[in-house]
């Protein structure tokens, strides 16, 4: 049996009642869940785990991996299985690293610039590549991840080859009119990075939710469901495909630049094909129909593997099995379980 991503309907924020409603507002339950998520991230975790740099680091990773996967989710929403997100995270990482080490650009400018550079590159590459569909698009983007890695490896003085770029400066303080809004991130405490990661993730969630529930989201859905029909009603299919892909690459670039500053280094091997696959897997595991899908998927897998240190050698194997199991038995992801319990997960589908 094949997994037809076109049958999966991102219906972010519309409650999942029988026939998908056009009400794009969050219902009360969703608001509560989102508030709970924010509280856990920003209050409970720092209080409970704030003294454990190790756990904070793990959760920081999970938050930014979620953020990057959220971009992949956006390309899923136009019906493309994107395996290039590792490439754009690498581009963003290198962009941030080069800007800060070579040109002394402060981290707070590097972050958006890295996103923009990734987005522009994504738009340029996406324009021709997005004509491909299904497995052809997946294969091409997969090779793109490898191509960008090789580019970084052979980038000469700019990327410093296999040695990578090290000693990337940490984020500095933000002062406005002499008032320190954010302290600089120097020191061993990962908590500032954790808060920044959470802030990015929440911004990303709100941003993608907004995108997905606006007319743009409906246009994306129309592309996924039938590009010819979308064309026939005057939708510039190529343009909206590129917009979706650029949004995805933007998020990948920002995530990459964050990690570069967080780990203070970046190498060609920082993001490989397996990372691209993982970003997609997080989306699958959580559920392609839900904006929270990639977040659930990423947190679950990242935290689970940290707790199960013993099986880390078998990570690739376990991920592979999980992926197959997920496609066979849970094609709508973990979040679809919750809806089924409410008795409203059927979504009116036959």
């Amino acid at each position: 049996m094949g997994l037809d991503i076109n049958r999966l309907t991102p219906r972010a924020g519309n409650g999942g009642t029988g026939a998908a409603t056009e009400n794009d507002r969050l219902n009360r339950g969703q608001k509560l869940r989102f508030a709970a998520f924010v509280l856990i991230l920003l209050v409970a975790v720092p209080i409970l785990l704030g003294r454990s740099p190790y756990f904070i680091t793990v959760l920081t990773n999970a938050a930014i991996l979620s953020f990057i996967s959220l971009g992949v989710w956006v390309t899923f929403s136009i019906g493309r299985m994107n395996l290039a997100q590792g490439a754009f995270a690498l581009v963003g990482g290198y962009a941030g690293a080069i800007l800060s080490t070579r040109y002394g650009v402060p981290f707070w400018f590097c972050l958006p610039l890295a996103g923009l550079i990734s987005a522009v590159l994504g738009a340029l590459i996406g324009w021709p590549v997005l004509r491909l569909k299904g497995v052809y698009f997946a294969m091409t983007t997969l090779s793109l991840t490898e191509a960008i890695r090789l580019l970084a490896l052979n980038g000469g003085d700019l990327t410093k080859g296999a040695t990578g770029i090290v000693n990337i400066p940490r984020p500095g303080a933000i002062d406005i009119f002499g008032l320190t809004i954010v302290h600089d991130f120097n020191g061993a405490d990962p908590l500032p990075f954790y808060f920044l990661a959470c802030a990015l993730l929440l911004l990303g969630l709100v941003g993608v939710w907004r995108l997905s529930t606006s007319r743009l989201g409906w246009v994306f859905r129309s592309l996924r469901q039938n590009e010819d029909l979308a064309t026939s009603i005057g939708i510039n299919v190529a343009k909206y495909r590129v917009i979706a892909f650029a949004v995805c690459c933007f998020m990948g670039g920002i995530g990459g630049a964050f990690f570069a500053a967080f780990h203070q280094n970046i190498y060609p091997a920082t993001y490989t094909i397996s990372d691209s696959v993982n970003f997609m897997l997080y989306c699958f595991l959580g559920g392609l129909s839900y904006i929270f899908g990639p977040v659930v998927g990423a947190f679950l897998l990242v935290v689970a593997f940290e707790l199960l240190q013993a099986v880390q050698d078998y990570q690739a194997l376990i991920y592979g099995i999980l992926m197959i199991a997920c496609m066979l038995w849970l094609p709508n992801g973990i979040l679809s379980l919750g809806l089924r319990h409410d008795g409203k997960g059927k979504d009116g589908r036959g």
């Binding site: 056009e22 606006s214 029909l229 026939s232 009603i233 939708i235």
Partner: protein, 258 residues
């Protein structure tokens, strides 16, 4: 005045000439049908007019401007909108959402405006919603507008396909086999519907197999056989045309005739 003028349209796929030097014109406000046996090139002709396929040679003029070579969404923007055979629809949306999203061409708000829900974007959505409800009512779909399209019965899907096209405010509507698979009553209703759309000022070009419906509805008929136009005229003229009778019934055999 001819709103659509097809001039010497030819399409070759490798060695196969699907459409061969076909010319005809459609008067504003008319209903023109393209008929022909299976494989006569009707569908290809449709794709050529709507710019989904680029012709090998020839051109299509719309309001005296050439639209051949424009991207298909641009042709739709100009007012030439096609429908599809069977069930080409946004299956995972409700009927209403299908029609609302099809109002894309009428968007006044920019992409940024849409994203940040500007006043223009909200006004757009309000208008689209009202217009979509009106279109669905008109096409007899008001009772199913909240149903997911994938769950709609066949006849409703066909009407929804037309509703989606109507949302794009066509000046010329290209209908691909609007009556196929319908029983007599359904066809009768569909014929009335198509006439109604024409009476709203939309010029109609349709491809169809159902002869009786075509004869009743058309102002003019173009007959294709093996990609070539073999006849053109009013229903009565076409029915009496030797070449048409030959194409449909096989050549009349002299011996049996006597």
């Amino acid at each position: 005045m001819a709103i659509l003028d097809v001039q010497g349209l030819t399409k070759r796929f490798g060695g196969l000439t699907a459409v061969n030097n076909v010319s005809f014109s459609v008067e504003k406000g008319a209903i023109l049908s393209v008929i022909g046996p299976n494989g006569a090139g009707k569908s290809t002709l449709f794709k050529l007019i709507s710019s989904f396929v680029v012709p090998t040679s020839g051109r299509v003029n719309y309001n005296e401007l050439t639209i051949t070579g424009l991207p298909p969404h641009e042709v739709a923007r100009r007012g030439v909108v096609r429908t599809f055979q069977e069930t080409t629809i946004f299956k995972e949306m409700t009927a209403l959402q299908n029609v609302i999203v099809a109002h894309q061409l009428r968007c006044r708000a920019s992409s940024f405006g849409i994203y940040f829900s500007s006043a223009a974007a909200r006004a757009d959505e309000e208008r689209f919603r009202e217009s979509a409800i009106e279109i669905l009512d008109y096409l007899g779909l008001s009772t199913v507008k909240q149903m997911l399209a994938r769950n709609l019965p066949h006849g409703h899907l066909r009407a929804l396909g037309i509703a989606v096209a109507m949302a794009a405010e066509p000046k010329v509507l290209l209908l691909d086999e609007p009556f196929s698979g319908m029983n007599v009553e359904e066809t009768e209703a569909a014929v009335r519907l198509v006439r109604g759309i024409r009476d709203r000022g939309v010029t109609i070009v349709l491809v169809e197999h159902d002869m009786s419906a075509v004869m009743r509805i058309s102002d003019k008929i173009v007959v294709l056989n093996f990609g070539t136009k073999i006849a053109e005229g009013t229903p009565v003229e076409v029915q009496q045309n030797e070449a048409v009778i030959g194409a449909y019934l096989g050549q009349a055999d002299e011996e049996i005739g006597h």
